[in-house]
Symmetry: C2
Subunit: 232 residues, 2 copies
């Protein structure tokens, strides 16, 4: 299937003329000039999805948080740090036919961010990091108005417990079309690893895929997206 | 000088028989299974110092936090995540003749670390991250007893303000022999960059070096270490 996709992209792919936006990687939320809150997302899955959509002929913008992997071929890459910057990057890339939110966006940013490095003070209690909600990129895109709502919005749910219940809840709450739920609990090897075990949840039910490489997950997801956008 | 150092290492270097421990990189302090507090240290300076000491003939253990740069040649690398793990790695590498603490160790760890991913709850306030002091690796090594106090302990001070005053204060408080103070304020380009502007502070005064590459800083520091350990 992957080889077929590569061959297709050399001519006219099934996603020719389709505009896609993919988010990938973690976001970093600054605590002060040297410290930040991060997460273990490597960007491998999001980058692979961007590459897979491009191979099927889509015009892809990848909005990526800080990662240490190469840019995928044939994709426009927009680099961001924080969740707010990522939302701005996605907004700037709209309108799009499909948006895949694969980034592990920080739920919260730091409310009491310091402009100078916080210092340890002898005898003083440690500082407390106060958090504030970040914008919800998936929900913002799913509920976009003025003709900016993409035909298909795909979210990811990284869960460590009650995977499917949480993913169904997220699908309803966010207003997106699909949730790709994956288990990132300790020992799953998902974060930073090369394989993924996912369930694709939509209004019709659950599509559970076997554990496979992130590239294979990306290729299968890109095909599923192509089928829906072509009305198959 | 660098070429001379490389040539020396091919025969017997001035640090032959010397045991050195170098810490490098950031530490990561877990908030929950997917989130953590990090800092912008790339590990470039610490890794370069480990390489430079090895080139002068030292037997080097590099205790490194999570970095995305290659292991230096000729060095034993111990990989750690948190400050506590880094301290344990350093302790296990003692006794040593010289310890260079170049890592950007988190001052605080997360006191209310969660074993499951913290979830956004609709209507609930964001969580607060409570911090607790991390062990002070530089001070622990500088004040080690039972014959474990290295002959030379070198600390780093990454500062964004009042660089020299803070560094002098750190030298006195920690009980180390030298502080290498470098400016990591925004715009200095130190964190993640390839150059560094440092001042070496010891009991005798301040040695201010011109801005140079991190490899050159490492070579000069290794030479300074070799001179002291040989009683020059």
């Amino acid at each position: 299937e992957i080889l077929a996709a590569i061959e297709t992209s050399l001519s006219d792919g099934p996603l020719k003329g389709v505009r896609a936006v993919v988010t990938s990687g973690p976001t970093h939320e600054a605590i002060d000039p040297v410290r930040y809150i991060a997460n273990h997302s490597s960007g491998k899955q999001g980058h692979a999805i961007a590459a897979a959509l491009a191979r099927l002929g889509a015009e892809v913008t990848l909005v990526s948080g800080p990662v240490h992997i190469p840019d995928p071929a044939g994709v426009r890459v927009v680099r961001v740090d924080s969740a707010v910057e990522m939302l701005n990057g996605v907004r700037a890339a709209l309108p799009a036919d499909v948006v895949v939110c694969a980034a592990a966006v920080a739920d919260w940013t730091v409310a009491n961010r310091a402009t100078e490095k916080r210092k340890k003070k002898v005898g003083a209690p440690p500082p407390v990091i106060e958090l504030a909600p970040n914008p919800d990129i998936l929900m913002t895109v799913s509920k976009a108005e003025g003709g900016l709502r993409p035909r298909l919005v795909v979210g990811f749910a990284a869960e460590t417990e009650a995977l499917l219940d949480n993913a169904r809840d997220k699908l309803a709450r966010k207003g997106c079309d699909w949730i790709v739920a994956n288990d990132v609990s300790e020992g799953s090897g998902t974060f930073g690893g090369d394989a993924n075990l996912v369930h694709v949840i939509d209004a019709d039910g659950i599509d559970s895929w076997p554990r496979m490489g992130k590239d294979a997950v990306a290729a299968r997801l890109a095909e599923r997206i192509a089928n829906v956008l072509r009305g198959l």
